[in-house]
């Protein structure tokens, strides 16, 4: 039969050994349980954080892109409507100008034609006058049978024309 220590007693060496055992146990638990588990938890946390931050970043980028696209589209739409408005305005101006030019041209052409007609008329009248004057002179010369001076000649013609005009 082995020797027994007393049931309730304090033995210094056992006491000290148990204190040491407790601390050794603490270090063992720390080394073999807490350290690796904490490391892996830390790693997982870091990974989750990086995934989240990456997702946030991606989302921000996507939103920025979306905003940019929307801005671009709006700008394009504005530009398009500007162009359209400009084109309409230009077209209106141009058409008005063309119409104006055309009417001006028409007016000027009409005026020119009227002028020409007037000129032709006057020319015709003058020719007739000359013809009549010559005829009158010939007749008169034949009648009077004498040469009249140039001065008298002209005077006579004018008198005649005035009379004719009065007629």
């Amino acid at each position: 039969m082995a020797e027994h220590q007393e049931l309730v007693t304090l033995i210094p060496w056992t006491f000290i050994a148990q204190i040491l055992n407790l601390f050794i146990q603490m270090l063992l638990i720390k080394k073999f349980l807490f350290k690796p588990i904490r490391e892996v938890l830390e790693k997982r946390k870091a990974k989750a954080d990086s995934v989240i931050s990456e997702a946030t970043k991606t989302k921000e980028e996507a939103e920025a892109m979306k905003a940019e696209y929307e801005e671009n589209i709006a700008a394009a739409r504005d530009k398009a409507s500007d162009i359209l408005a400009n084109a309409q305005k230009t077209a209106t101006l141009k058409s008005e100008e063309i119409i104006k030019e055309a009417s001006e041209a028409a007016i000027s052409m009409k005026a020119k034609a009227e002028r020409d007609i007037e000129q032709e008329k006057r020319k015709a009248v003058n020719e007739i006058k000359d013809e009549i004057g010559n005829m009158a002179m010939e007749i008169a010369g034949k009648v009077i049978e004498r040469e009249i001076s140039e001065e008298d000649h002209t005077k006579l013609i004018d008198e005649f024309i005035e009379k004719v005009g009065e007629v």
Binding site: A2, Q5, P12, L22, Q25, L33, P36
Partner: protein, 252 residues
């Protein structure tokens, strides 16, 4: 029938005296303590091998749960600043628990030796005192004994000393009483079965009365309380009180 409740066996005594501290003994307590430490350490190594960040195994989930439970227990009771005490409390709990429960496989619990609990209680007491001195300074620590009135000083000193003693004796008493009661139950059931089976007449009864048939099964039911419940409870209480005392000591 005689029942003998013995202290732990002494396997080897070194044949020389060390002054003051006496002879170095390798007792059952120490040997089983080492077995307990080995079990806990191997369990930790088994739990934490092949750890993964993603897609973890149940084993790893359990290990992580243990760490988180320990963290929550210590931080919940003591606050964030005592985070570095987590391994100590965890070691205290694990050692106490495994020591208490190792009696189920027939080994003698190291916690059924007052030396073990006294060692733990003294460590805790030193931590409490250190914490008190750290909080209030050495003068504040001494002054604390005269609160609320100087007449109370002896009682305060006594209650201070009662802390580790009660801590150690509570745990030791519970485990030892479990052993004593188990011994009593085994002996009583042996007597009862011998009396019961002795009623059978003739040689059969004579033979069967030597077989303690009632010792099969019934003590296992009782050990649910005396070993399992008390073992878990005392480990929990010891750690709870440790954290509470240290946290109280840290309060201004």
């Amino acid at each position: 029938m005689n029942i003998e409740i013995n202290g732990p066996k002494v396997f080897y005594t070194f044949p020389f005296d060390i002054p003051i501290l006496g002879r170095l003994q390798i007792s059952e307590t120490l040997v089983v303590s080492w077995i307990v430490m080995l079990i806990i350490t191997l369990l930790c190594i088994w739990l934490t091998h092949n750890l993964k960040v993603e897609n973890i195994s149940k084993r790893q989930a359990f290990a992580e749960m243990l760490v988180e439970t320990a963290d929550n227990f210590v931080i919940g009771n003591m606050g964030e600043k005592f985070k570095n005490l987590v391994p100590f409390v965890a070691a205290l709990f694990a050692t106490s628990l495994v020591s208490n429960l190792i009696s189920l496989v027939g080994l003698r619990s190291p916690t059924a030796d007052l030396n073990t609990e006294a060692a733990w209680a003294v460590v805790v007491f030193i931590m409490i005192t250190t914490q008190k001195i750290k909080t209030g300074g050495f003068g504040g620590y001494l002054k604390g004994f005269t609160q609320p009135i100087p007449v109370m000083t002896p009682f305060n000193v006594l209650s201070e000393l009662a802390t580790p003693i009660s801590l150690a004796c509570r745990h030791f008493g519970n485990i030892l009483s479990g052993i004593v009661i188990n011994g009593l139950i085994y002996a009583a059931l042996a007597v009862a079965s011998s009396a019961l089976l002795g009623l059978i007449p003739g040689a059969v009864g004579l033979f069967l009365s030597h077989v303690p048939i009632l010792d099969v099964g019934i003590p296992a039911v009782l050990s649910v309380y005396f070993d399992w419940f008390t073992g878990v409870m005392q480990a929990y209480i010891f750690c709870m009180l440790t954290t509470m005392y240290i946290a109280n000591a840290a309060e201004e």
